[in-house]
Symmetry: D2
């Protein structure tokens, strides 16, 4: 996992996917070689060797990558289109821009800001947006801009969402909901135009929706969990990126579960953000392939 914690000059990450067929690994390897690239790491996955989907992530080093980008892209088009393969190539010297939406809870937000400051997340953080002001001072102490967009009263959130969209527009590559306790409208999802990652405070698909720790206590489970997933139209049904759990006992109250769960939430979210930032996560229907 060492290849991309830092921004890497002259390194590219190439994602290839499409119908599984013979020879794709060799085809892509040959393409990189003839474009003077050197493969650093290569992962692949086939959903089914017979008629399934093929996914590949290749990191390669190529001196003067910036200058060569157009010709490599042309070669990728020329080579992969006949196979019906899609691709995207990312210059790893450019950090993804991550906006964080938060509410009153600070544990996921502060953990992301702190990891970023330590150099553990290869992203830039152009802004944190919250519907409360309680975390403003902490956020700004990390040198990150903070914007307060109060949540609209009532079920119609179009105005507050519009205000958020205006702040995000053109400025971010993905959005993280770090325990942002508002339901995102489908309209927002369509307009934002970048991936949105959420941390849900349960082991999905158990305890979908509100108050999962209360539900976990009511059901008497012996483990509680957290799930990082891409947000889709269906609440808590998007593709799962990462999950983890922690053991609990009958002696712990719903409030204890919340406190214990907070540690799992921040750990799970930080892994999901890291992997997304490194283009290690590929979405396919309602699943993810995670080359971690």
């Amino acid at each position: 996992m060492t290849d991309t914690i830092e921004a890497l000059v002259d390194h590219a990450c190439l994602i290839v996917h499409g119908p599984d067929q013979r020879g794709m690994v060799a085809e892509v390897a040959a393409l990189i070689t003839r474009n003077k690239g050197n493969i650093i790491s290569l992962d692949q996955h086939s959903s089914d060797p017979e008629g399934g989907d093929f996914f590949q992530r290749v990191v390669f080093h190529r001196p003067n990558l910036l200058a060569a980008h157009p010709e490599i892209e042309a070669d990728l088009d020329r080579t992969l289109q006949p196979f019906g393969m899609k691709w995207r190539m990312v210059d790893m010297s450019t950090r993804k821009r991550m906006a964080v939406l938060a509410s009153k809870s600070d544990h996921c937000l502060l953990d992301l800001l702190w990891r970023h400051r330590r150099g553990e997340l290869p992203v830039s953080i152009p802004m944190v947006i919250s519907n409360h002001t309680s975390v403003a001072e902490d956020v700004r102490a990390f040198g990150v801009p903070f914007f307060h967009v109060p949540s609209q009263e009532g079920p119609d959130k179009s105005e507050s969402e519009a205000a958020i969209l205006k702040l995000l527009a053109g400025n971010v590559d993905f959005v993280v909901l770090a325990r942002y306790m508002q339901v995102i409208s489908n309209d927002f999802l369509e307009k934002v135009g970048v991936p949105v990652i959420n941390i849900h405070h349960s082991f999905l698909p158990a305890f979908i929706g509100a108050a999962p720790y209360r539900k976990a206590k009511d059901r008497g489970v012996k483990l509680i969990g957290a799930t990082a997933h891409y947000v889709t139209e269906e609440l808590d049904e998007g593709p799962i990126i990462e999950q983890d759990v922690v053991r609990v006992t009958h002696g712990e109250t719903a409030q204890d579960l919340q406190r214990r769960g907070a540690d799992v939430e921040r750990a799970v979210l930080s892994r999901a953000v890291l992997w997304h930032a490194q283009d290690r996560v590929i979405r396919q229907h309602n699943h993810t392939i995670v080359f971690a």
Copy 2:
């Protein structure tokens, strides 16, 4: 956890539960002392310090326990009834009799038999009943009687259940469904008259019902689990005794999940059986208190 792997002569396990109130721990401790018992271990739990339920498990040593049983019981009645507390006392020199119901899958069944042979489960196993004969030879190699009761065709299982009930009647203290793939009728549950423990091959309440590994694969979860619970009228809704999980990846098929999950199933079930056999599990509504 060392106190009860083996049958313990002159040791009693006392379970007390009822409305939480001041002084119960001292009351019980005094009772044991005046009956010449020495407390070996003591656990307690209060569901809520204000108006909740109180649960206590005490293991004590008392020379000539057998002879003193009646007078201790009389004292318990006399002392605890005014407080509205219920109690049960178990002589730990007597092993609980466990019947295992199995199907074709052998992993949970063999693990129980093997642990029993190693002396890790303080039970006796008077019989294994299966609707298939494939495990007969293995079971009998452990010196355990095997009975074959084929599953009835069609939705009505009353005849095969009656045959099982006849074998169990008076012979067992609890029943373990070790991946017994038949739904148990409420009629069976009422008639069997002893606790029934099931191992469900998912992290409940996720993936209730049939084919949980297929459902887990479809949902794209990153952990799979197993749950041991008491069987109640509602399918997969009974009080959970123990759960655990194992990490999986996108690269694993539903069949891989099944193979990986089998290890979790047998581990979870063996812990649940051990704790039940040691009277460490107290049922309360749809929950368990586990003094493990």
Copy 3:
């Protein structure tokens, strides 16, 4: 574990230990009852039922505890001395005062400060002392005093240790070394007069001493860990309070291990500090009994 995250008015925590003998649980329970206390929770441990040591932790509620303290203490002396038992009783309305010694690494320090601010650690933090100034601003942002005591050049640290001791004297109940990279002299340990908790960045007893992540990489282990322990005269040999591990692969560099391990270190240290602050940890020779 809910009983003591917050300071609890009119609650006492009583620790009793000494030679194991019959009737101690009942004796202590009766004592609390006759002093008008109500037992909230009770844990006990016997190192060996025959001639071993006995340990008990009892939390009880007693209205007007402060006023009754002297008479309860007199009763404890009177009752327990004939049995050769030692005891200490703590008023749970008083938070322990914790000093943190840090160096350049911020992960353990910030996690403690942040958990304290969230109300997850029942301590007060009168000061953070560091041999570097890099964390000063962060510490003070939490409203905690920061003192800079530079490390002395050369092997003799007596002057810098004396400066630290002067700051601590009378002001703290325990000291936490939150990745404080200086070896503590035995002289310091004797003079400080309060427990000192260290976090070692390996799974002790593996990789004692400096550079454990480098040693772990050299040995090719598949898990790395962290250990919180009381500091004693022997380096990294003190009683272990808590440990945990995380899985690593051949693909991770010593630097990766350090980054991954930091998460384990802060988690392990925070649990050890919580348990110590709640008087859940009893030292016995080179072991701990942890009633968690």
Copy 4:
């Protein structure tokens, strides 16, 4: 991990290693393609991008593999020798032959036999050798030959080792010490000529040598573990294949640790055996690269 649980006809596993240099992935991919192979999975590792070692494992499908073997091997020699790379290619339709050496403890041995019967281990088991006869009946019930070779009295084990070597000679591809409690002489290691895998009942490098559970209890650790490793001349110092741990408390005796640890031992050993059987483990000096 689905590719090799079963023997796979017309599939080869190619391991390549040598000095890291540009273009190796593409070179190998091209070689497989021109030999009409289709890459199924590909993993690689570089110990250091500057002057380190390169390791690659490629699984490919090639119709009529058996017939093409010699020409592929010739091509591998021709292509890789100029780069100073070494290689070995395994026909995945052939199961490795595994001998198990056991003693009185049956948990690791029975778990391997049982997994093999379930089809979870792509090996054949031509024999089990033990210095005790207690497991003979169990082994033969699995249809596996059992040989009894009593341990020689005294420090000189040359005669019993000679008897074992005679049984193994030419009949096995690797040897597993499934809690075989005898120290293997260097002379045996040299003569046996195949890899030997041991399961050590501690988290190495902690608690090398005899009685690790007793040592773990004495040190007061909060986790106990097991380690599967290749046997080398230095006791318990060989390359580690896999490790795992389980949480323990002050309340557990050394005997409890042994019982709890047995579950970890069998789990760790079965994973190590699976990965070795699938050629997923590459030894490099005192390390392993595990493409799991």
